[in-house]
């Protein structure tokens, strides 16, 4: 896993970072959107831990709360209507969320980690980059705002960053605008911007979904390589497990804002233990995984305004019994760090 550089302890939000604590600990996170039609429960008790140099994939269908959970960690939720109603997010032992006594929700109280210690890469770099500023300006802005660099210094640093993410002839392209780049190069610009402050954690929200297949793997390789160099922790949000298979160490499978299964990447492929995970794998083509048929999961993702009782997946599940709508299955250890939130994980394994 390359060398892991341990950054020296520093003050974050008034408390001292613990150098031995995991990079990121998300515990029992709940996020809801209070809109006119009711309460959209987007994240319902998500927990995960990210260690140094580790890559965690968060997998799930559209609307399962992947992006919203990342936004809560970053402290960039649209508030209102979005609120963290429960749970904690710890960065190197420091609590990023604090209870707001008046609203009974949690505020992100350590803004100084944003962009510098925890950085984010978004899905579609064309819309995620500002169309009216040059890429050099946008990367350089990080150095100017966070390190007080002059315009000239910032530009030099931006060129360095662009070279680091292997954008050819960076010096000449520094004054180009986002729309003048190809999709892959634009995503490299985003990555350069995210890495500019040498963050401990990078959250990549479907970084390759907007790209075509060959470029996808180049970007994944680049991310993996940069991670090896820096030892940062990485969260890869995806709805396609195949894309992250070579890069991720662990996987969290999300459904209706809840964790369905979590395991090492190999275990997920070889011994999926939740009907939903099984469904996800059957809906993607992958040569090294044996599946009989390529079928999408029947039914539609749940209405987050009225999540089904019990196991939220039960209306779409072929294993469901009368127990499933009545009782919420807890995350239960299948084997070591491999856990599944299904009453019938043994039956699921048997069928394989």
């Amino acid at each position: 896993m390359g060398f892991l550089r341990v950054k020296k302890s520093e003050d974050l939000g008034g408390s001292s970072a613990d150098p031995t604590a995991p990079l990121l600990e998300v515990d029992n996170l709940h996020v809801e959107f209070r809109i006119e039609d009711g309460t959209v429960r987007a994240v319902n008790g998500l927990s995960y831990t990210l260690g140094r140099g580790e890559t965690l994939a968060i997998l799930g269908e559209s609307g399962s709360g992947k992006s919203v959970s990342a936004q809560a960690v970053m402290g960039i939720l649209d508030t209102p209507p979005g609120f963290v109603t429960q749970g904690s997010v710890k960065f190197r032992g420091v609590d990023l969320l604090a209870l707001n006594k008046k609203s009974k929700t949690y505020d992100h109280v350590v803004p100084e980690v944003r962009g510098t210690r925890i950085a984010m890469v978004f899905q579609d770099a064309l819309t995620a980059l500002n169309p009216v500023y040059t890429v050099g300006w946008q990367i350089g802005e990080m150095f100017r705002v966070h390190q007080g660099a002059s315009r000239k210094e910032a530009k030099e640093k931006a060129i360095e960053m662009m070279e680091r993410v292997k954008i050819p002839s960076a010096r000449e392209r520094i004054n180009s605008y986002p729309h003048e780049f190809s999709g892959g190069m634009r995503q490299r610009v985003m990555i350069a911007m995210a890495l500019s402050m040498d963050p401990d954690v990078i959250i990549a929200d479907e970084p390759t979904t907007a790209l075509d297949v060959t470029v996808q793997s180049q970007i994944m390789e680049l991310l993996a390589e940069l991670q090896r160099e820096t030892g940062m922790g990485m969260i890869l949000i995806t709805h396609d497990l195949a894309v992250v298979a070579d890069v991720a160490d662990r996987v969290v499978v999300m459904y209706a804002g809840r964790e369905m299964e979590t395991a090492e990447i190999d275990d997920i492929f070889h011994l999926p233990s939740h009907p939903y995970t099984l469904g996800l794998m059957e809906s993607i083509a992958r040569p090294d995984v044996h599946v009989d048929r390529l079928t999408p999961i029947p039914g539609t993702p749940p209405d987050l305004l009225a999540i089904p009782s019990g196991c939220p997946f039960h209306p779409r599940c072929t294993y469901a019994t009368e127990r499933c709508p009545k009782e919420v299955p807890e995350l239960e250890s299948v084997n070591g760090s491999h856990s599944s939130a299904c009453f019938y994980w043994k039956e699921v394994q048997v069928e394989l």
């Binding site: 960039i76 944003r114 984010m120 995620a128 169309p131 990080m142 705002v145 729309h179």
Partner: protein
């Protein structure tokens, strides 16, 4: 950027000829005989009528008259009125008032309209936002001359804050008329900039700016505002024409010796040369202003420069 500008300039050529020809033709078909109007009740002797007709090319077909006219205009000669006074002299006389009025109105429009719109957009759904939405709707619903009379009665007669007629106090005399002239566009600008800002605040790049760890001020002021201004600037360009058209009504209501009132008076007196001259001049001003806005537009939005 250079090619973009050249293309814009070239596009102005047909616009210029089209607009001026239309104005010319419309005035030409105005009912009534200007020579008869000049003489009053007593008919002129036929040889005088003929001399006048020849002098002003009234006996030539329309397209020929236009050709002669536009050639002269391009040499800075806008013709003379029926009393023999060059139209250019009249314009020189009246222009400063109108320019001041328009500038002041434009200033109100941009400063007040934009500020109100941006603040309302940032505070979407709060009290100030509702205030802006409702008050602008009222302004939009009321015709400009009603607004003018109301302003005269309230701020001039009742409160006595501002002069309501004439140009004796210079800039100060222009405050109320400029505000009335600006009011409609001001309301549009406020609404447009509010909507544009609210829309842009939802954009992906704003989320990126937040994720970069920038403070709110920078996220809005540097990242969102410039994008939000793009449609506003486009509107400002279109609006310059409305300001000038509006000046005719406003200058008449407030009795200001500007180009607008000159056009109004000339129309009543059937002074075709004056009407066409001033209208042609306004077309030129409008086109130059548009070009400036196009440049600004290109500066604001780099995607435009290369399309």
């Amino acid at each position: 950027m250079g090619r973009y500008l050249i293309r814009r300039v070239l596009q102005f050529i047909p616009v210029f000829f089209g607009a001026t020809f239309l104005i010319f033709a419309l005035v030409f078909v105005m009912p009534g005989d200007p020579i008869a109007a000049l003489s009053g009740d007593k008919p002129l002797p036929p040889d005088v009528v003929q001399a006048l007709q020849e002098r002003y090319h009234l006996d030539e077909p329309l397209y020929k008259q236009y050709g002669i006219y536009i050639t002269n205009v391009m040499q800075g000669d806008f013709g003379t009125d029926f009393r023999g006074r060059p139209v250019v002299d009249l314009m020189k006389d009246r222009l400063p008032v109108t320019i001041r009025l328009a500038l002041l109105a434009f200033f109100f429009e941009v400063v007040i309209g934009l500020t109100a719109g941006v603040v309302a957009g940032v505070r979407k759904g709060q009290f100030f936002d509702s205030l802006v939405l409702i008050s602008t709707l009222i302004v939009i619903a009321i015709p400009i001359f009603v607004l003018g009379f109301m302003a005269q009665i309230v701020f001039g007669v009742k409160l006595g804050w501002f002069p309501i007629s004439g140009y004796r106090q210079g800039w100060f005399s222009l405050m109320l008329p400029a505000f009335v002239l600006a009011s409609l566009s001001l309301a549009y600008i406020a609404r447009l900039s509010r909507t544009s800002l609210v829309e842009n605040l939802r954009a992906d790049y704003v989320r990126t700016a937040k994720a970069k760890g920038l403070n709110n001020r920078r996220v809005i002021g540097i990242h969102t505002l410039r994008n939000s201004l793009i449609p506003v600037v486009t509107y400002l360009a279109i609006d310059l024409g409305a300001l000038m058209g509006g000046a005719i009504i406003t200058e008449t209501i407030f009795n200001l010796p500007g180009l607008g009132r000159a056009v109004f008076e000339a129309t009543q007196a059937q002074e075709g040369a004056v009407v066409v001259g001033i209208a042609t001049f306004l077309v030129i001003v409008y086109m130059i202003a548009n070009l400036l806005v196009d440049v600004l537009y290109g500066v604001l939005d780099p995607r435009i420069r290369y399309e």
